[in-house]
Symmetry: C2
Subunit: 681 residues, 2 copies
C-alpha cells in the first residue's frame, strides 16, 4: 500500500500543478491548495446526517485549517458551489456505492458524492471503487462540478456539487465489520464498547468529542489568556488519604508502601495558593473507586480552579464568565448572572440540593389550611413545632397518571423516606377524588386549591411530618412525576433549555451517619465557615453555614467549590475539636497555612457530566472516547486483567484469592441489554 | 481574620469610589479599577530579582487581566509612572521592612515599595506593619506617588514609584519559616521538596511554571484553533502490556485483576485515527516505573499528537510550526525548518543518536592516513573491512586538560566501550606530545593535523576498531571534554542557544540484547518501515530502516514519533514473523487496522524536559510543581506510605514482606547533598 501511495503522488502533483489557479500554498505532500478556505454556510437542518460537526461548532471566522500538512486539499464536507471548477484531492471512507455511478465518501467533516466517469478509459477506476467493501479508505482526485439540475440534494450540505473522479488510490481495504456503521447506534452498549473505534465514527460521537475539545479549549483561553490563570499539573501518584476508601492504591517498589490515585487535587491547589501562584487551573484527571455505580467512571475529569484574594461572589462571576465564553454557538445563548438559591430554600421548595428549575411544581407549605383540622395524622403532624404539611401540584397529573403509577409513587415514598403520601386527583369537572374528599369542607378544599394553584385535571400530592423527610419525599415525587408525564409525551421540561443555578449557604457540618452525635464535614474539612456564623463555630457548630457553593445545571450538580480556611488556628480547631481528626495526618497543610497563606477559594467543574448535558447525551460514556463499563471494565482490551505472579514480585504484593473463586463470574457479560444503567442521576 | 476583612471592605470601597477617576470597571469586591492596564515595559535586566515573570513572558498586546474577580485593583509588579495619582489596592507578602519607613510587598508579578506615613494619626498603620513577621500577607490601599528625585531604583521595574499607604489589613500572619525565602534556592534539594510551597515562591520557580503554562497554552492554540486538532482524553487505567515491566499496576476489586498505568497513549491514539478523528492531540499524563533513575519521574507529561493522511515531512512541518508558534518571546527567535540528519550520520559524526550540535568537534575518519602504517594496533584495525581509525579534535584541549583529566577520559572509554584511546597533545609550538610522536613521520603528522584541522594547543583523541564502539567512545569523549572545558571556564556551547535537530532513518529492528540472533523493535512494533526498504523486510529485516524520527534539542531527545503501520497484514507479519510475539495479545489492534484504518503517523514531545531546557533549569524537577524525589518519593506528604491491611482487603492483595525488613532503609534521607543526581542526560 505504501508503495502504491508513493508512486501515485508524483502523478497527482503533476496534475494539480498544471491546473493551479486560485491557490496559494502547498502542503508537505506538494499538494497545492487554497490556504484555509472560509465558507459561508447555510443553516443546517438538525436531521441531516453526517453534516460537518465542525461547521456546527465553530464560527466561520475562526475556522481552523483542517487540511494543513495532510495529503488532501479539502475535507469531504467542506466543499460548496464556490469550489466548482477546482481540482481537489480528498481522503475518506466509502459510505456507500450507488448504481455503479456514484460513491459517497465520508470523513469527519461530512459526506461528498464522487461521480465515476463512465467512459471506457476510466474502466479501472470504476472497477476499483465498486469492488471495494464499504468503509475502505481511498484518496480521490477530481474536479468539483455542479450536480445536474434537479439532482441537487438539499438535505446534504455538499448536495449541490459532486467530484468528478480522475484518479483514485486505495489506501486501505476494510475487511468484514461486526456490523454496519450506519445503524450502529442501535447496537448494544457492549458491542459499541468492544468496537469503540467504529462507534466513534458515528456523527453523534464525532460531534460529542469535538464539542468537548472545543469547549475545553475555550475554557483554557478564558482562564489563561483573558484572566491570567496558570495551568499547573499536579501529581496523580499521591499519599493515601486516611479513610480514603474510594482511592485506588498503587503499590510501589518499597515493601508495604503504596501511592494512591487522588479523588481531586484539593490539597495541591491550596498549596499552590500558599506558593503564591495566585490563579491556578487544571483540566485534572481524578480517580474514584466506587465499584459499579451507573454513570460513574473510575477515572473522570474536572476543570479545577483556585484563586487567591477572592470571595464567593468573585468565584461565581468567574465561572459565569467561563461558561458564557466557552458556550457552544449552536446551543443558543445563556444569560448571566445565574440565579442563586440557598440550600435551605432549595430543600424547602424542591426537596433536593440540586433543583431542576426547568419546571416549577414547587413544594408548598399548606400547614395553615389544616391548623384546625380533625384529620388525625395531619393534626398530629401540626401539633409538633418542627412538623408541617406540604404538597406539590402536578399539572395534568390526574389526567395522565394511572392508579398504578400513583401506587408506585406512594410505595416508593414509603420505602425511601418513610413518608405516607395522600393523593388528591382533580377530576375534569373540578371535583375531588381523594381519601381527604369527605374529611374536608368545600371551603377548605377551595383554600387548598388556591394555595397550590391546582386546577381541574391536576394531581395534588400531600405529605406531613418532619421538615426534611417531607421535603425530600415531595422533591423525589416531583421528579418522578415529571419523568412519568414525559414518558407519556407531555412536555414538562424543555430538553433544549439550560437552567443554571447556584446553591449556596450549605451547612458546614452534618451529623455522622453511623454516629449522629458526632459531626463530619458536609463537603471537606477545608471549607470556610460563613462569615456571619463565625462565632457559632465555637458554640453551635451544627448550625454553622459554610462558604461552599454548588453549580447545578438542569437538576445535575456540575460543579462545587468553596472559600477555604486560610487561617491555621481555625483549620486546626475544625480538624481537632470538631471533626476529632488526628491532626498529625494533615500537619503539612497546617504548616503551610502558617507560612503566609493568602485568603483563597476555588471550584471544580465535573467536565464529563457538564459536556454530556450540553450535548444532550444520555450518559457520560457518550462524551468520553474510551469509557469503562459500569463495572469498571474496558471491554475493548478486557482491562483489568490477570497479571503473572512474577510481575507482582517487584511490588511486594500477592493476590489473596477468595475462598470461592469469582473468576467465572468475572467473565460473564456485564452490560445489561437495555441502556438502563447509563442514565444521568 | 474573615471578620476583619469584611468590616474593612466597605471602608475601602468608600474611599475608592470617592476618587474613582480614570477607572472603568468594578470587580466582585466592588473595587473600581481600570480594566486591564496595558503597559509599555522597559527592557528588564536579567539580574533583577522579582521582576514580573508575566511581563517577561507575554507580549503587551495579549496581557491577561490579572486582577479580575479579586480584592485588589493592581498586582504589585505592574505599577509604573503612568499610575501616579491613582488610588490602588494591592495584596501581597511582606518581602522586607526598612527603616520603619518602607515595606516591600511582593506578589507573583514583582515587588512594590509601600511608604508608611510618619504622622501620628497613622501610627497604627506603622505599628501593624512593622510588627508583622516577613512573609505575612497584607492588603494595602494607597496612592501611587513618584519617588523623590534621586531615590528611584532602576534595578526594580516599579522603582520610579511607591505606594503611600492609607489603609492596611492583615490577611494572615506568617509563623516562623524553616528558612528565609530569599536565599531559599541555596537550600538542599530535600528541604526544597519538603517545603515545596515555599520553594515555589521563588522568582525562578514562578517563572518556570508560568513559562510552562503559557507554552502549553500556545501549543493548544496552534493545534486546536489553527489546525483543527481534537483534544481527546484517553484512559490511564488500562490493560497491562505483556512484558510491560515498567508499568505500575493498580489492583481492582476483582480478585487477581489489575489495571496498569500506561507509559503512553500509543494504542489509543492509533485507535482514534481508525475512528476517523483525523487529528488528535492530548497533553497526556504518562507513567513509568523505573525505580530510582536520576531526572526521571514516575509520572511525566507528553504532548501527544497523531494525524491521518500524513507523511513524515508533514509531521515534521507540523512540529516545527508548533514549536515556533509556542516559542517564548524572551528566548529569541528560532528558525525553521530544523536541520535533519540520518541515524547513521549521527553515529558517524557524533557517536550518538542525539547529537548536541551547538558545537562542532565532529568525529573524523582518519583511516586513510594510516593505510601503510607500521603501528601494530592501527594496522590490525585497518586490516579488517569493518574497522577504522577515527579521531576528534578538542580545540584548546591540550591547553586546558591536565594529565589527570586525560587519564580519567581514557579509563572511562576503556571501561564503558572497551576502547583504547590514543592521545595527541599539540604543544603551543605545534610539536607533539603523544605515544605516536616517534612512530609517525612529520609528513604523516602534518596530514593528520590537516585532516582533523588540529592546531597548536589542541588535543586529538584517536581510537581504532569496529565502527560502532569507536564512534560511541569518541561521541562520549566529545561530550566529556566539552563539560571539562566548560568547568574550566572555556565557552564551548552557547547556553542561550537552541539547536533543534531531526534524527531520521533509524533501524526498524535491533538485535535483542540477551539473544542477539533475535530481533526486537528499535522503538515499537507499530512503526512503519521506510518505503525504500519495504521489500527488505521479507529478506533482511535487520537492514530495514524505519519511518521513525526523533527531535533533539541541544543534545537531549525531546520528542519522537513515526509513521505507523496501517495495513493489518504487514502489522501481523511484523508481530508474528519478525518479533515472534503472541499475536492474540494485540488482536484488537489488528482487527482495528482491518476495519478501514487510514494511513497515519504522530509524535510525542516530552514536555518536562523540553520546558526544562528552554527555562535553562538544571533538572526537570524545576519545571514540575510537585515533583517526586529521585527515589519516587513525595517528600512533602511522604508518599508512598504504608496502608492498613484492611484497606487492601477490597483489592484482594496482601503485602509480601521481604525476609529482612527494609523499612529502616526506607526511612533514610534519600536526597544526595549535592544536586549531582538531578542533571539532564
Amino acid at each position: 500500500m505504501l508503495l502504491i501511495m508513493s508512486c501515485r503522488i508524483s502523478n497527482i502533483v503533476h496534475k494539480i500543478l498544471v491546473s493551479s489557479i486560485r491557490r496559494e500554498s502547498t502542503n508537505s505532500f506538494g499538494l497545492v491548495r487554497k490556504k484555509c478556505v472560509r465558507l459561508s454556510l447555510p443553516i443546517l437542518s438538525n436531521t441531516t446526517q453526517w453534516i460537518s460537526t465542525d461547521h456546527r461548532l465553530c464560527s466561520q471566522k475562526n475556522m481552523p485549517d483542517q487540511n494543513s500538512f495532510a495529503s488532501r486539499t479539502h475535507t469531504c464536507g467542506e466543499m460548496r458551489c464556490t469550489h466548482i471548477g477546482e481540482q481537489v484531492t480528498i481522503c475518506g471512507w466509502i459510505q456507500y456505492q450507488r448504481h455503479g455511478l456514484f460513491v459517497i465518501l465520508r470523513d469527519f467533516s461530512g459526506l461528498i458524492q464522487i461521480l465515476i466517469p463512465q467512459d471506457e478509459s476510466a474502466g479501472h477506476l470504476k472497477k476499483t471503487l465498486f469492488d471495494l467493501p464499504l468503509e475502505s479508505v481511498v484518496r480521490v482526485t477530481g474536479n468539483v462540478v455542479p450536480r445536474p439540475p434537479g439532482q441537487e440534494n438539499s438535505e446534504m450540505p455538499t448536495g449541490e456539487i459532486e467530484v468528478q473522479a480522475q484518479d483514485i488510490e486505495v489506501l486501505n481495504i476494510c475487511k468484514k465489520l461486526p456490523f454496519e456503521i450506519k445503524d450502529f447506534v442501535k447496537k448494544s452498549e457492549a458491542l459499541r464498547m468492544q468496537y469503540r473505534y467504529l462507534d466513534l465514527r458515528s456523527v453523534q460521537m464525532q460531534y460529542n468529542l469535538r464539542l468537548r475539545s472545543r469547549m475545553v479549549m475555550k475554557m483554557k483561553e478564558y482562564l489563561c489568556n483573558l484572566h491570567g490563570f496558570v495551568d499547573v499539573e499536579t501529581p496523580t501518584l499521591f499519599k493515601r488519604t486516611p479513610g480514603g476508601a474510594k482511592e485506588f492504591v498503587v503499590p510501589s517498589r518499597e515493601p508495604g508502601r503504596f501511592y494512591s490515585l487522588p479523588q481531586s487535587p484539593q490539597q495541591f491547589k491550596q498549596l499552590l495558593m500558599v506558593a503564591g501562584i495566585d490563579r491556578y487551573f487544571q483540566v485534572a484527571r481524578c480517580y474514584r473507586d466506587e465499584g459499579s455505580k451507573p454513570d460513574r467512571q473510575p477515572e473522570f475529569t474536572q476543570v479545577d480552579i483556585e484563586m487567591s484574594f477572592v470571595d464567593q461572589a468573585g468565584i461565581r462571576k468567574l465561572i459565569e464568565g467561563l461558561i458564557q465564553y466557552s458556550w457552544p454557538e449552536d446551543k443558543g445563548q445563556i444569560g448571566v448572572p445565574f440565579p442563586s438559591i440557598t440550600y435551605s430554600e432549595a430543600m424547602q421548595y424542591y426537596g433536593i440540593d440540586k433543583p431542576d428549575t426547568r419546571f416549577e411544581w414547587k413544594i408548598i407549605d399548606i400547614s395553615e389550611g389544616f391548623r384546625n383540622t380533625d384529620i388525625g395524622f395531619l393534626r398530629d403532624a401540626l401539633s409538633k413545632p418542627e412538623e408541617s404539611v406540604r404538597a406539590i401540584c402536578v399539572p395534568d397529573g390526574a389526567k395522565q397518571l394511572k392508579s398504578k403509577d400513583i401506587e408506585f409513587l406512594r410505595k416508593n415514598s414509603r420505602a425511601q423516606f418513610n413518608q405516607e403520601v395522600t393523593v388528591v386527583a382533580l377530576k375534569p369537572d373540578g371535583s375531588w377524588k381523594s381519601p381527604l374528599s369527605k374529611l374536608l369542607t368545600e371551603e377548605q378544599k377551595h383554600l387548598l386549591c388556591q394555595a397550590t394553584q391546582a386546577k381541574a385535571g391536576d394531581l395534588l400530592l400531600l405529605t406531613a411530618g418532619e421538615h426534611e423527610p417531607v421535603c425530600r419525599a415531595l422533591g423525589k415525587l416531583r421528579l418522578q412525576c415529571a419523568e412519568l408525564l414525559e414518558s407519556r409525551g407531555v412536555a414538562v421540561r424543555d430538553s433544549s433549555a439550560f437552567h443554571f443555578l447556584w446553591v449556596v449557604d450549605f451547612p458546614l457540618f452534618l451529623p455522622k451517619e453511623d454516629e449522629p452525635d458526632k459531626l463530619e464535614s458536609a463537603h471537606h474539612p477545608f471549607t470556610a465557615p460563613h462569615p456571619q456564623d463565625a462565632l457559632l463555630l465555637y458554640t453551635q457548630p451544627d448550625k454553622v453555614r459554610s462558604q461552599h457553593y454548588d453549580l447545578v445545571l438542569n437538576g445535575s450538580e456540575i460543579g462545587g467549590g468553596s472559600i477555604r480556611i486560610h487561617n491555621a488556628e481555625l483549620q486546626q480547631y475544625v480538624l481537632e475539636k470538631i471533626l476529632k481528626e488526628d491532626k498529625r495526618l494533615l500537619s503539612h497543610l497546617i504548616e503551610a497555612l502558617d507560612s503566609g497563606a493568602p485568603p483563597h477559594g476555588g471550584i471544580a467543574l465535573g467536565l464529563d457530566r457538564f459536556i454530556a448535558i450540553i450535548a444532550g447525551a444520555p450518559s457520560i460514556r457518550d462524551v468520553i472516547a474510551f469509557p469503562k463499563s459500569y463495572r469498571g471494565r474496558d471491554l475493548m482490551s478486557n482491562a483489568p486483567d490477570f497479571v503473572a505472579a512474577e510481575d507482582l514480585v517487584p511490588y511486594h504484593i500477592s493476590v489473596s484469592w477468595p475462598a470461592v473463586s469469582q473468576e467465572a463470574e468475572g467473565e460473564q457479560p456485564e452490560i445489561p441489554a437495555s441502556g438502563k444503567g447509563f442514565n444521568h442521576t
